[in-house]
Amino acid sequence: MRPINFLPVAAFLLIVGAFSWYLVSGEDPRVIPSPLIDKPVPEFDLPPLEAGIPGLASRDLAEGKVVLVNVFASWCAPCRIEHPFLSALAAEGVPIYGIAYKDAPEDTRAMLAELGNPYERIGVDRDGRVGIDLGVYGVPETYVVSGDGRIRHKHIGPILPANQDEIRAAIRAAGETP
């Protein structure tokens, strides 16, 4: 047989190989790469949730320090999974800013009263418009913002124990970018 006769078999094996590679790579097809990476945070100004905790505006994110912006809601069950990690980061001195996404303020307050509040600032995004400007499509979402107000990393979905190193690495890397 001439080598060209093996071409269909080779093509088939190539396709099978590519499919199985993606299958076992563990890449989540639901995670959509954000076009906002390395771009400045879009312009926004959200009112505070309650007295004592300031609201959140885009200018608060360009104050020269790395911050974590966490989009959360009381109706979001997976948000509770990452809550202890956010509290731990806050205790280590990483500023964590929250955006309460499409949530009734009294529900957000009840949730924070129950679980504790890791957020230095909380902006209330009642109608989700700021969420859309940030490209939010699955709460919770977490953004690592460098001191110049640019988004350096985005994590979609809850920060599971397996993702904690990735978030810490992104915070370190954001601190090193000039």
Binding site: S34, P35, P42, G128, I132, D133, Y137
Partner: protein, 155 residues
Amino acid sequence: MRRMLIMLLLLAPLAAAAAVAVDETQLADPAAEAEARAIMREIRCLVCQNQSIEDSNADLARDLRQIVRQRVAAGDDAAAVKAYLVARYGDWVLLEPPFKPATLILWLFPPALFLALVAYALHRARRRRLTAPPPLDETERARLARLLDKDGDAA
């Protein structure tokens, strides 16, 4: 009975179209609403992924529908509305991927493969025509004569 069934089947897509977004504030101008709807059909619902936002009942899809309507009402054309959404969600938000350097393989591979196969088929056909078959040997000639003879008898 059959005619009624066919009628129902023909009407089904209309019913589906009418079910979209009935509880929403639509644009007062029917032409603008139609334009907004046309854009919605090309925007992917990010939560459900393989539905357009026009098809989807997801919360985010409803929000995005309202944004498309607002942009259309503000005078944006389809390209501007899509650019607005792509800036936030990336090319993924478009159901039809755009033609650009990163998607060259995606768009050009199928026609290139087709052309290559056509070229290969033509090449083979020509080669087959050009190489004359070897002359028949003694036994083959005898068999051919027998076959032709039999044919003549049957006719």
